[in-house]
Symmetry: C2
Subunit: 173 residues, 2 copies
């Protein structure tokens, strides 16, 4: 029914240290009023997304992987024998834009394009050994640093609930 107000969720509710605000606009350092912006889901959604992506980049910096690149490696590992169109489509990447992205991964020897014998138009995408190794290390970094930090902030239950709601929106909105 109602959502339990866990400590994590209302953790940062503390108000800012109040300061006197002169009638004149001369004073500086006064925090601006967010107004209805705080109620705009899209606003918090975007700001949270930027923070999460930024943290992801830091956590996986040793491997020089972006979130998008990581998602490609993950998908290639779980779905062998697929071509560029299939991988790009399920990630919401347009085929033209996927070409340069694959070029980057292939030039780093993380994956390879193989001409399909069935359909010589398409390229079967495969992870290289190095690609698998990098993916394994990346998964560990993401789990131990990135997702762990989110769990610490929200708590496991809230994190799961958040993930579920986001997936619902992404799927049905």
């Amino acid at each position: 029914m109602t959502v339990s107000k866990t400590a994590a969720v209302d953790a940062g509710k503390a108000a800012r240290p109040g300061r006197k605000e002169p009638v004149e606009a001369a004073a500086e350092g006064t925090a601006l009023q967010m107004g209805e912006l705080s109620e705009l889901l899209g606003y918090s959604l975007k700001r949270a997304q930027l923070k999460v992506f930024d943290d992801f980049l830091r956590c996986v910096a040793p491997l020089q992987l972006t979130p998008a690149q990581f998602s490609v490696l993950l998908l290639l590992d779980k779905n062998p024998g697929r071509n560029q169109t299939e991988i790009a489509n399920t990630l919401g990447i347009l085929r033209p834009n996927f070409v340069a992205m694959l070029d980057g991964l292939e030039s780093r020897d993380l994956c390879a394009r193989i001409r399909s014998t069935n359909d010589r138009r398409s390229h079967i995408l495969v992870l290289t050994d190095k690609g698998r190794a990098v993916l394994t290390r990346a998964k560990k970094l993401v789990a131990s640093k990135h997702e762990a930090r989110l769990n610490e902030l929200l708590g496991p239950a809230n994190r799961a609930a958040l993930l579920d709601m986001l997936a619902t929106i992404a799927r049905e909105f």
Copy 2:
């Protein structure tokens, strides 16, 4: 188990009449396995954000306002007498990029730059009458179409919990 019915758990069953289901025979198009991608918060976060922004654009299309423009108008309304740097900073927009954005709003007579008498370097930003009118109409569209749709999908309690968690991430992550 101890996890209270945290919303998201039953978010999926919140109202939604079955609409488009790719139930085609699809002898060849087997869905790809998402694997650990489903557990990556950043992935669902980004996809949800894109959906929400897309819906926002549709709902407010009659007024030709982007989420960023809407947030500027909201902020100007709630914070009179502020200059470009202050508004841009609280929205996470870099000052150089805020210039063109303001040019767009000002050219449509939604807001105006006024040279400050205190500090003749800065421009005080104000909403015009038209800007206030557009903002009022935009708020109604957002509430009745956009946020209402999210409420319908998640339920009010879940939506509030989601917003709270996103704000927490945006603030403390």
